[in-house]
């Protein structure tokens, strides 16, 4: 089952990006590539949406941006996690866990509808 970018909520994309950056600063292309590889091509994210997320994350202070040199010595814009970003990532993870747990509880329930 392929989850397309249409079904991914903006908030989730932000969370994925923040998670990706926990492994060190990356440029936008690197993030896109990593997400594709790690999810085994299941997650296809429109690049445009990715960059919009990145810039908005910078606006909110969760990531910081700097220009640097890529592996091929080309000028590229690198993003890294800020302390506020780390905190937000932790909070987002907790929110998602709660959400997932709630859904699982419903699906796993064996109790029928309580009698009126």
């Amino acid at each position: 089952m392929a989850a397309t970018s249409n079904t991914l909520l903006q908030g989730t994309l932000d969370g994925l990006i923040l998670k990706t950056l926990t492994w060190g600063p990356r440029h936008g292309y690197g993030i896109a590539r990593w997400l594709r590889t790690t999810s085994d091509d299941t997650l296809t994210i429109e690049d445009r949406a990715l960059y919009l997320s990145l810039h908005r994350l910078e606006e909110r202070g969760w990531v910081a941006a700097e220009w640097g040199l890529s592996d091929n010595n080309r000028k590229a814009k690198f993003y890294r996690l800020t302390p506020e970003g780390k905190r937000e990532l932790k909070a987002e993870r907790e929110r998602l866990t709660e959400y997932a747990r709630a859904i699982l509880r419903v699906f796993a329930s064996t109790i029928a509808e309580p009698s009126a």
Binding site: H55, R74, K77
Partner: protein, 894 residues
């Protein structure tokens, strides 16, 4: 991978976004080509995968703009905060300077704000919510008056018939209305209070864009003669306080005066009618007020007679109708009405459409003119203040030149330095402004009590117009007075100031300061001359012989409220009150009177055989009991005063004033002559001649007064006047309580010292004397501070020169004289300039003075002397310091 940051700017944003997108797409193309795709396919795929590049560029740029803006904002906040803390530290290091500036600003700005808030309310603030404030006028009828030397006297209240005549005959007005304000007794249960009520015509509310908060206003049918309908519209405040804003206030009843009214509506919150200083508690139809009046005859005839006043007329001109055109229209209508009434044809009235504000109309009190003058004066003081502050800031900036040179040499940009210095002066200005508000709050309360009606709102802290008026000078002071010195200091020659210890350069800058000082001195002279002229006027007024001795006299006024007595009972009541008054301990004399100078005078209609009537009569009538002349202290010059022999039934007697005797019977003996009152047949014989008195206007010497015996005159009205053995004010309560016991029903008495009425007449000169003295002293202090600081600075700059002089043999006195002479030159220049300006200004305002020439040499000479003395004192202190310079130290510090 190296990381480096480049500074952001607007142009870079577009470039960076392009670079980032291009990097991504190129990298993807590279990866696809490495995986075996053709370059063209790779490009197409990569671009497809990316999405709409142009749209992406736009949205990314937008976000980056926001990021940049935020960054810049934070930077600005940070550097401002740095500037402020630095400035505060600098001020704390030099507290004397900071305090001097803040106090100077506080006094200047505060005084200005206080005066503005009062003068604005008197002269400028129009009633709120008017639909067309520029087109609304109040009508005055101007009649030529021989007793005022052919000048006009202005009538505000017109009869209802006249109003109808004008409305029918004029074409210039969109709408007209009438209004009058009344003090009426508002009764709730047992509680009775006198409140301000607006008696207005139904069309009054159409002048305002003010839909009622509840219910409706009264309509034309409820304002028709003979007595309208007993309906009332509450003010918003009254609705909130008495009925807690409940909607069942509609239909409630209120007893106002003698009648009971039903509430039909509530006015909106801002609405005060035309009474900005004292908003009425409620509004009733004029017809209802007049119809329900105590005087039964008036209640029936107010709409059929030209003799009875109705209200003041309010008009709204049609668009395009000028005031002159409206006046012409009004005059024509007035004259037709006057003819219709059968008024004397030699008294042709003019119509005048004037401002709603009483103090801008022809009946303006002289107090208001003084108040306007005071306003101009406060502005002058504000200018002095700014000059002083500029001067102090300039001195400080010049002292810091070395420090500034060092900072510039270390690489601080001039812009940043300028910002720093500006922050300092703005900070001072803001502190001064805050302190100024405190001064303004106190000052406006004091001034308001003097100039505005009691109960007027004088709050400054919530008054947006005044706050704006204060805010502007605060900011302007901070920026302008800080700008010039800061600019000067920053454009300093770095090299020169690093090299030497800062001598020289005194000439160029001190010329500016010299000019400032002379101007300050001149302005102080102007204000002090004003003070001197007003003080002398006030003394002249106080020394004026009145023809009676007001000091220990109390007046008792009767307030009958809704108690109606027939004439017999009224006479008996007055006699009883007089007898009671005589018995109060401490009372030396007591008498009844019909009229009283300054409190209420009336024109009589006297006829004598030798009198040729010209114009309106100017004879002021009184009817008194025997002890009157002793009570008032008016001397009888010839013959006798009214005595107990002049009872009803005895031959009618009259006492005339000296001027009246000379006018009616020149060259002959007035005693025994015959006069008649009105259309009477019986003669009243002159039995005595009394000294002339001031009846109505202090500088009027044309009053003609005469006195009948109270027992021989009808009607018997008005109250008691008594003379105390001791101080009048202390007897007020005792007298009031004793006499109040004799009053029937809800009627009451009020007792006031007669001197209060006289004091009120002197108010304008007293105001001028007080305000000019205060501001003159203030200006003088500021000028002295300015002079002191200038000379102190100059002495410090010239310490080298002083050292040389002393080393060459100059005595201490020589050095002192050197400095003091400089101070005296400044002072002298200020006196000269100020004296000339003052005499020009005083000429224009000569009419506000009393028996005082605007060029009074005593005043000018004393002011000049005071200024020169202060200049000498202010320069003596730095002079002493100059004389103590140790030549060893100063010569070596080169």
């Amino acid at each position: 991978m190296s990381l480096f940051r480049l500074p952001r700017s607007l142009r870079r944003i577009h470039r960076d976004v392009d670079d980032e997108i291009r990097f991504h797409i190129d990298s993807r193309i590279g990866a696809l080509v490495a995986g075996g795709m053709s370059p063209d396919d790779a490009r197409r795929t990569a671009e497809r995968e990316y999405g709409d590049v142009a749209a992406s560029r736009a949205e990314l740029t937008e976000v980056d703009h926001r990021i940049l803006a935020r960054e810049r904002w934070l930077e600005w906040m940070d550097s401002s905060w740095q500037h402020i803390t630095y400035a505060m530290r600098g001020l704390r290091a030099r507290p004397a300077f900071a305090i001097a500036v803040v106090i100077t600003l506080a006094l200047g700005i505060g005084a200005n704000a206080a005066i503005f808030s009062v003068v604005d309310r008197l002269l400028f603030r129009l009633p709120p919510l008017l639909r067309e404030p520029a087109l609304v006028n109040r009508l005055y009828a101007a009649f030529p008056s021989p007793e005022h030397d052919g000048q006009n006297f202005f009538v505000e209240n017109i009869p209802w018939l006249r109003y109808q005549d004008i409305v029918n005959a004029t074409r210039s007005f969109t709408r007209t209305a009438g209004y009058s304000d009344q003090q009426l007794a508002l009764r709730t249960g047992d509680d009775v209070r006198e409140v301000h009520v607006g008696a207005v015509s139904a069309s009054f509310f159409d002048f305002f864009d003010a839909p009622p908060a509840l219910g409706r206003y009264f309509n034309a049918a409820e304002d028709m003669p003979p007595s309208g309908a007993l309906v009332v519209v509450l003010s918003y405040g009254t609705w909130q306080t008495r009925y807690a804003g409940r909607s069942d206030a509609l239909g409630a009843t209120l007893q106002i005066g003698p009648a009971t009214y039903t509430v039909v509506g509530v006015a909106p919150e801002q609405f005060v009618g035309v009474w900005t200083d004292e908003p009425p508690v409620a509004f009733i139809p004029v017809a209802a007020f007049l119809g329900a009046a105590d005087d039964r005859r008036r209640g029936k005839t107010w709409f059929t007679s030209y003799d009875l006043d109705w209200a003041t007329m309010l008009v709204e001109r049609k668009r395009g109708v000028s005031i002159a055109a409206a006046n012409a229209d009004l005059t024509a209508a007035l004259r037709r009405s006057w003819k219709e009434q059968g008024g004397p044809p030699d008294l042709q009235p003019h119509g005048l459409a004037e401002s709603i504000l009483t103090e801008r109309g022809p009946n303006q009190r002289s107090v208001s003119r003084v108040a306007a003058l005071v306003g101009g004066m406060a502005f002058i003081v504000l200018m002095i203040t700014c000059a002083n502050v500029a001067s102090l800031l300039l001195a400080r900036a010049l002292r810091r030149r070395r420090e500034i040179a060092v900072r510039l040499a270390l690489g601080v940009s001039r812009a940043r330095l300028l910002a720093q210095l500006l922050t300092e002066s703005v900070l001072l200005a803001v502190l001064g402004g805050i302190a100024g508000l405190v001064v303004a709050h106190w000052g406006s309360t004091v001034l308001g009590r003097m100039l505005l009606p009691a109960g007027a709102d004088t709050r400054v802290l919530t008054d947006t117009r005044t706050l704006g008026f204060v805010g502007v000078p605060v900011l302007m002071t901070g920026i302008l007075t800080g700008l010039a010195p800061a600019w000067l200091a920053v454009h300093v020659d770095v090299v020169r100031h690093l090299k030497n210890s800062g001598h020289g350069d005194t000439l160029r800058t001190s010329r500016a300061r010299m000019a400032l000082l002379v101007v300050q001195g001149a302005l102080s002279v102007i204000l002090l001359v004003g003070a001197g002229l007003f003080v002398r006027s006030l003394n002249n007024v106080k020394a004026l012989p009145l023809g009676y001795d007001a000091d220990r006299v109390l007046t008792v006024a009767l307030n009958m409220r809704d108690v109606n007595l027939d004439s017999g009972a009224a006479v008996a009541l007055r006699e009883r009150l007089l007898a009671t008054a005589m018995r109060v301990p401490g009372v030396e004399h007591a008498a009844l009177h019909l009229t009283l100078p300054f409190v209420n005078t009336a024109l009589g209609n006297i006829q004598a055989d030798s009198l040729v009537r010209r114009g309106l009569p100017n004879f002021r009538i009184n009817a008194v009991t025997p002890d009157y002349f002793a009570t008032m202290g008016t001397r009888i010059l010839r013959g006798r005063g009214i005595s107990t022999a002049d009872a009803s039934g005895a031959p009618a007697a009259v006492v005339v004033s000296k001027r009246m005797a000379n006018l009616l019977w020149p060259g002959r003996d007035a005693l025994g002559q015959c006069v008649r009152e009105g259309g009477e047949k019986t003669c009243r014989l002159v039995v005595g001649i009394a000294e002339d008195i001031k009846g109505n206007i202090l500088d009027d010497d044309t009053g003609l007064h005469y006195y009948y015996a109270a027992a021989q005159f009808k009607p018997q009205r008005n109250g008691v006047v008594l003379r105390m053995r001791g101080d009048a004010a202390s007897g007020v309560e005792v007298v009031r309580r004793t006499i109040q016991r004799e009053m029937p029903g809800a009627a009451s008495v009020s007792v006031t010292p007669f001197a209060n009425a006289i004091e009120q007449e002197r108010e304008s000169w007293r105001l001028g004397a007080t305000m000019f003295s205060i501001f003159g002293a203030l200006a003088l202090v500021l000028a002295a501070i300015g002079l002191y600081s200038t000379l102190a600075y100059s002495v410090t700059q010239r310490s080298h020169e002083m050292g040389v002089r002393i080393a060459l043999g100059a005595q201490a006195t020589d050095v002192i004289w050197l400095v003091v002479r400089q101070g005296l030159v400044f002072g002298g220049a200020g006196v000269l300039l100020g004296g000339v300006a003052a005499s020009i200004a005083a000429n224009r305002f000569a009419s506000l003075l009393f028996s005082e020439s605007p060029r009074d040499p005593v005043v000018y000479a004393s002011v000049g002397g005071v200024l020169l003395t202060i200049a000498a004192v202010a320069s003596a202190i730095p002079a002493r310091r100059a004389a103590r310079v140790d030549p060893n130290v100063s010569l070596r510090s080169e």
